[in-house]
Amino acid sequence: MEASAAAVSEKTQSDHALIEATKNGDEAAFASIVGRYKSPITNYLYRFLNDYEEAVDLAQETFVRVYFAIDRYHTEYAFSTYIYRIATNLAISELRKRKRRTILSLTGLFQSEDDEQTEFQPPDNRSRPDEDLVEDERSRVIAKAIATLPAKYRVPIILRDVEGKSYDEVAEILELGLGTTKSRISRARGLLKEKLKHYL
């Protein structure tokens, strides 16, 4: 326990050192930060949005925001907390945009004589880069199940169970109390249990 705490501390110091160097104009330091977090952030966003292209796009947007807000970053909390928080906010915004896109889509064009509205969902036939990712059927079912969770449950459970963050870290990223965080994670697991009972 002490060794892993020391490792975390060392990494945190290392992150802060890189951030300080970036503030001083060291591009290589920023590149090191990117190298360290690009895959975890991409993975996190992929599991949240279930869309690889979108995940990569938002991951890049996350780093752009980190870069331009580097002067405002304070070392009072860990850099990983900071970057995951930015990524989370972007992901939630994207989710809201998706919902608005669905509502404003072609619904109004499809009306029966009784004025009942029929929602029209055009099929997405684009090829997905993540098709190279060989996932078995179980993983696909799990990913689909996660995608059905509301954002307030989806975020903490991905941070906790997929990204392996501690409860404290998840609470810090989401700026929630520890109790609320655990409660939401537990609730998320409960919701997933119904959908994944065949794999339990």
Binding site: N43, Q60, R138, D161, S186
Partner: protein
């Protein structure tokens, strides 16, 4: 690793529990990597980005909360001002005596002879000469004078309301007519039958179909001895039924309708309407409003 508290907020992770199994399933998901050209695209993105767009982000959180808060305060103040204005308009005094002057504009002039009368001197009003030579208030630009009296009963502190031409100067306040509310809108009816009741003065007389339909917002006209919908008013029962302009009425509750259809005793009920829309017969039924 920080010590994790157990059983707080239901987050128990007992070995073998369903929660732990779910946790294991999720942690077993294959991790994706960022693409190889991630750094390249990121550099291009940063180079093309406008720093000002990202620096404004600091202000946005403040604006995000300040604007709705400002709007909320504005609405709240508006409601308060409006409600105090309305209460100022209708002062009530239990014992019938004159309401106290709470700083409102005081009418000057002859003292009221009756404790419930408040007198506003005619000098305060735009003078006008009525048909019989009497002076009274007048609407600006109105050709005719409006009869009014210096003893018009008005609420203390308020100028005499201007009575438009053609209306009686009698200021007796009549209660507002009770709106006729169909049963299903009263909140305790399971029926989808709509029943409109004719005004009292027509209760004993037969009501023509056109008049009955007009009472539910449907304007009809006769065309080749058949009723054709001319227009449907918004927010009426006619609209809720789904009737549209151009529909030709065929039957109401299974009863064929034509130019001779009347409703006896002033009652009109409709559950379903069959219309012809183009070549198609359509049955329309009132949908129960969502709560």
């Amino acid at each position: 690793m920080t010590h994790e508290h157990k059983n707080i907020g239901g987050g128990a992770e007992h070995p073998g529990s369903d929660e732990q199994k779910i946790s294991a399933l999720l942690s077993g998901l294959q991790r994706v990597e960022a693409p190889k050209d991630f750094d390249f695209h990121l550099k291009a993105r940063i180079a093309n980005a406008k720093p000002a767009d990202y620096q404004k982000a600091g202000m946005f959180p403040i604006l995000r909360y300040a604007m709705p808060l400002g709007l909320f305060l504005a609405v709240g103040v508006g409601v308060m001002v409006n409600s105090s204005y309305n209460s100022w308009q209708t002062p009530t005094v239990a014992d019938g005596s004159m309401p106290p002057n709470n700083g409102a504009v005081t009418a000057t002039g002859p003292a009221p002879t009756d404790s419930n009368e408040i007198v506003v001197p005619t000098a305060d009003l735009t003078p006008a000469v009525g048909p019989d030579g009497q002076r009274g208030p007048q609407l600006a630009g109105q050709p005719g004078a409006v009869q009014g009296s210096s003893r018009d009963i008005v609420e203390r502190g308020m100028p005499a309301p201007i009575v438009p031409p053609g209306f009686s100067a009698d200021r007796t306040v009549r209660p507002a007519p009770t709106p006729i509310i169909p049963p299903e809108f009263r909140g305790n009816s399971n029926s989808t039958t709509i029943s409109t009741v004719a005004p009292p003065e027509m209760a004993s007389k037969p009501v023509a179909l056109a008049d009955a339909l007009q009472s539910i917002g449907i304007e009809v006209e006769l065309e080749e001895n058949k009723w054709k919908v001319k227009s449907v008013k918004g927010s009426t029962i006619g609209e809720l039924l789904g009737v549209k302009a151009g529909d030709r009425l065929e039957s109401i509750d299974g009863r064929a309708v034509d130019d001779k259809t009347v409703y006896k005793d002033g009652s009109f009920k409709v559950k379903t309407i069959r219309v012809r829309r183009g070549e198609t017969a359509v049955d329309l039924q009132m949908k129960k409003p969502q709560k």
